[in-house]
């Protein structure tokens, strides 16, 4: 795999669990019932399934970046715009593509476009990320190609 503009990041795919939304509502002290009460979601005209917390959607993208980089310490920055809702039972795919690669002396620093798509549905978020890869690693990957 060559780490260069156009390199696609391995996707991270997961099914969104309503039970996990309940856990996050408690952990985040988030009282918004759209994350745990489908009756409220329906009453608000937002469908019949609970709606995932936005930061959890962001976390799926972080998971994708961690799995690719191999170490959470290599993720330097992430910026996203929230575009659409993700609902309980949805299957989502986090993905990305390298847009540029630069060196900072010790690392190859990859700028990436990233996103989270609902399978069969809309793009839920989009943004950009900066990930530092060890220079030697990038060279090995290029040499092995």
């Amino acid at each position: 795999m060559r780490v260069s503009p156009g390199t696609e990041l391995p996707v991270f795919e997961v099914e969104v669990r309503p039970a996990a939304m309940k856990t996050m509502a408690v952990l985040l002290r988030d009282p918004n019932p759209i994350h745990f009460d489908p009756d409220v979601v329906a009453a608000l005209g937002l469908g019949d399934r609970v709606i995932n917390q936005g930061p959890t959607n962001m976390a799926y993208v972080v998971n994708m970046l961690m799995a690719w980089a191999g170490d959470p310490a290599r993720i330097r920055a992430l910026k996203v715009r929230f575009l659409d809702n993700v609902r309980g039972g949805d299957r989502v795919v986090a993905g990305g593509v390298v847009t540029s690669v630069a060196g900072d002396g010790r690392h190859q620093v990859a700028e990436c476009d990233v996103w989270l798509d609902v399978v069969g549905g809309p793009r839920a978020l989009a943004g950009s990320a900066t990930v530092a890869l060890e220079a030697g690693e990038a060279a090995r990957e290029t040499a092995a190609e």
Partner: protein
């Protein structure tokens, strides 16, 4: 809230708060967001976000009131940005400081008048180093503006 009032918000600092990454909460969070395995003692990078929002020195309701709004007005997440400077660790307590960094009034054809308010939260470790910076923006509908 007048435009002058809105623009005067820029530079307002929040009270300082703190956040501890409790082991059991981290375990539950990592499970709920389907995290890949993490190195021992290393917190999921999303704690840059969770610690910032969870530890800032005012509640979201207080933040909304500061900008002349409330949860009932339907404020929405706009963008979220994370800058990761140091690996965050489970069990560590972080100081959270920050304030409002931007405020602008806009008019959309469908949305009408709305304000975008941005704020930055710096997550500081026990040595005084900034471990992470979380930047967020909320969109506030201003139907009566």
């Amino acid at each position: 809230m007048t435009l002058d009032d809105l623009e005067r918000l820029v530079g307002v600092e929040f009270p300082v708060g703190e956040f501890t990454i409790e082991g059991y909460e981290h375990w539950l969070t990592a499970d709920a967001i389907d995290s890949p395995p993490l190195p021992a003692g290393v917190a999921h990078p999303m704690y840059a976000y969770y610690a910032g929002l969870g530890g800032m020195g005012l509640t979201l309701d207080e933040l909304f009131a500061m900008v002349g709004s409330s949860a009932a007005d339907g404020p929405m997440f706009g963008e979220a940005g994370l800058e990761f400077r140091e690996v965050m660790r489970v069990g560590e307590t972080y100081r959270v400081e920050g304030g409002i960094t931007g405020a602008a009034r806009k008019t959309g054809r469908r949305a009408g008048v709305f304000d975008i308010v941005s704020f930055e939260l710096r997550v500081v470790d026990s040595s005084g180093a900034v471990a992470a910076v979380s930047t967020n923006s909320f969109v506030f509908p201003r139907r009566a503006a």
